[in-house]
Subunit: 380 residues, 2 copies
């Protein structure tokens, strides 16, 4: 299953009328918690900081959470097995190829731990998602961060030199699309390396934002796992499914590799309410299209605003965008916070840039208005 | 705060009339999912297998889960910080002394990982809770399981010899009360060892069942953590608070020790619905007493039944009991399953015993009746 298969069904309905809060987009937004003309989130703050899905849990997932409350005192293994089976069916694989995590981050942690060895290079992009570098810290890796290329794709050539130097076992983390830049690395280049790599080079391919991508140079690494036990694909329910607070993600790999990851799993890691929400979400064929449609509407506002203010931005294939700011990043983040908006944290070395996550269209308008106000005060 | 402080408030009300389903116990049970005369759990099976709290989530926790659904798409760190603060207040300590886990088991896993070193002895009782032995397996520990003493307390003398031999760093796991035996190890003996032990002996004290204990020889190890950075106390919301499916537990230790554990934490591990349920549960002063009262009623039924059938059992300080069976354990578990009742798994080397978790009084009566039926067929 690729993102297009996921999306096609609901696309026509979802995309009609995305340019305003009326019409199809308005009906998508009708049930969103806290959303409505003039309203913000329940606590009054607009969170554009953490790449969350502003639509919230889908209506079916909310009902599934409520329905599962009577079994919330029971250990969750039965529900977790159902999620593995449902994922296997959707992905066209077997449950033996799937492992759940308390968020995809736990799967990343399992992999970092499972494949550590003394002076094994841990090769990551700079900047990239910080959890993998964090997880390797207490282990015996040699950590190497390779700057992104000028087009903000991973420098796979340089990463390969580092990983395969001295024929050591290594772990290569490829976040694709990359967080915090939102940019993709062409899959053909990655696949070519995987085809040639020794089995001691472990590829940890993070596809957290997979469903948002429409760049034709991008395909999932999922089809590679059977022939390549050294490829682990990591996905999440936090983004397109709007479940970041529920903590559920998964890894897909060769069954032998899954078995090795399982040595490092935390018992009963997938909570029962998240598991039932996931089952309901997987069964909701329009959910991905709805999330993509709302994200596209937010992206249009972001592009228009940044163009208007002549602020450079990176081409995004995700639910966030990285754009230039003028002046000090810490001050910028603080001023946005003072205005009731949380924007992304600093991602060194890109300290002249800010990552802003896509909220609801109305929230994006608030962000745009605030940015224009900063420009008027010459803060930008 | 000790268990008695926790319990006193609601005790008088909670314990009046525990002998039947009428009166005070009846009112405690009125809101339990699936409970009622002649009814079993929603799926028709009685689960007496996993030391779960049959009362389910408390009414306040259920409401808190529902109320938090609108933020289930947001990362949960704010709620997790609130739980740490609430725990610190109740325990009379600071948030720096507290770490959350996706279940207490994740805290056990962090500790096992944080204090591994080549040929460090990992010293546990036999039998005990299996997660710690499981977590040490992929690391470089020397695993040593020390049989319980005849009174089913930990053989601390022998464990000490193993742990402190050759002056290696070691990790000592003390599950107190112990799972699966339900028995306590006198705290004075443990505290004496801790007072004398080198700081390289790490004590991992699992108090998952703490709130159920009324044995005067038992006290929490919590007061020791400030003077002893080598003591980690682990607790859970899975048992007395009925939240096993939600995955939330915690560790309490010296802030320096907490910092070391944090190197091995999985990002955003505490899910937002669990965190809100925990806050509601901690604010419900009668919850512990209610759980204890229903547990005591179940325990009375278990004792009466086992006495009637002359089946030996261990003195329990928990929400389960270990009792003799006659014949093959696998057959026993299978026959119970055929009768619609899940009982505990095998705990080698105690293969002539079964662990049964305390359910609702009516569920215990079903278990008792089934056991009597086994006796009539000479299966017991």
């Amino acid at each position: 299953m690729d993102r297009r298969g996921f999306v096609t069904a609901g696309m026509t309905a979802g995309l009609a009328g995305v340019s305003g809060a009326g019409g199809a987009l308005g009906s998508l937004l009708a049930g969103v918690p806290g959303w409505g003309p003039g309203k913000t989130l329940p606590d009054g703050t607009i969170r554009l900081s953490s790449n969350e899905n502003p639509l919230g849990l889908s209506p079916r997932a909310r009902q599934a959470v409520i329905d599962a409350i009577p079994v919330a005192n029971r250990y969750p293994s039965d529900a977790a097995r159902e999620v593995e089976a449902a994922l296997a069916r959707q992905l066209g694989t077997t449950p033996d190829h799937v492992i759940l995590g308390a968020g995809s981050t736990e799967v990343l942690q399992m992999a970092v731990q499972a494949y550590q060895s003394p002076h094994a290079p841990m090769v990551v992009a700079e900047p990239t998602f910080e959890d993998v570098p964090r997880y390797q810290r207490p282990f015996a890796y040699d950590m190497v961060a390779v700057p992104l290329l000028p087009d903000m794709s991973h420098d796979l050539g340089r990463m390969r030199e580092v990983a395969e130097k001295d024929r050591r076992p290594s772990v290569v983390y490829v976040c694709n699309p990359n967080n915090p830049t939102g940019t993709v690395t062409p899959s053909a280049e990655l696949n070519e390396w995987i085809a040639d790599a020794p089995e001691t080079t472990m590829f940890l391919v993070d596809e957290a934002y997979f469903e948002y991508v429409d760049d034709p140079r991008y395909t999932s690494a999922l089809p590679l796992v059977d022939a390549h036990p050294n490829v682990i694909v990591v996905r999440t329910f936090s983004k397109i499914f709007g479940m970041a607070g529920l903590r559920l993600g998964y890894g897909v790999a060769h069954p032998g590799t899954i078995g090795r990851l399982r040595d490092f799993i935390s018992s009963n890691n997938a909570n029962v309410l998240a598991s039932h929400a996931a089952l309901a979400s997987l069964g909701d064929q329009d959910l991905v299209a709805r999330s993509v449609a709302v994200n596209d509407a937010a992206k249009q506002i972001a592009h228009a605003t940044l163009d208007e203010l002549s602020l450079e931005y990176l081409p995004t294939q995700t639910n966030f965008i990285m754009h230039r700011i003028h002046g000090d990043l810490g001050s910028y983040i603080g001023r946005m916070r003072d205005a009731g908006i949380r924007v992304g944290r600093p991602f060194p070395p890109m300290l002249g840039w800010n990552r802003v996550s896509f909220g609801l269209p109305e929230e994006m308008e608030r962000w745009a208005e605030t940015l224009r106000g900063f420009r008027e005060r010459s803060w930008m």
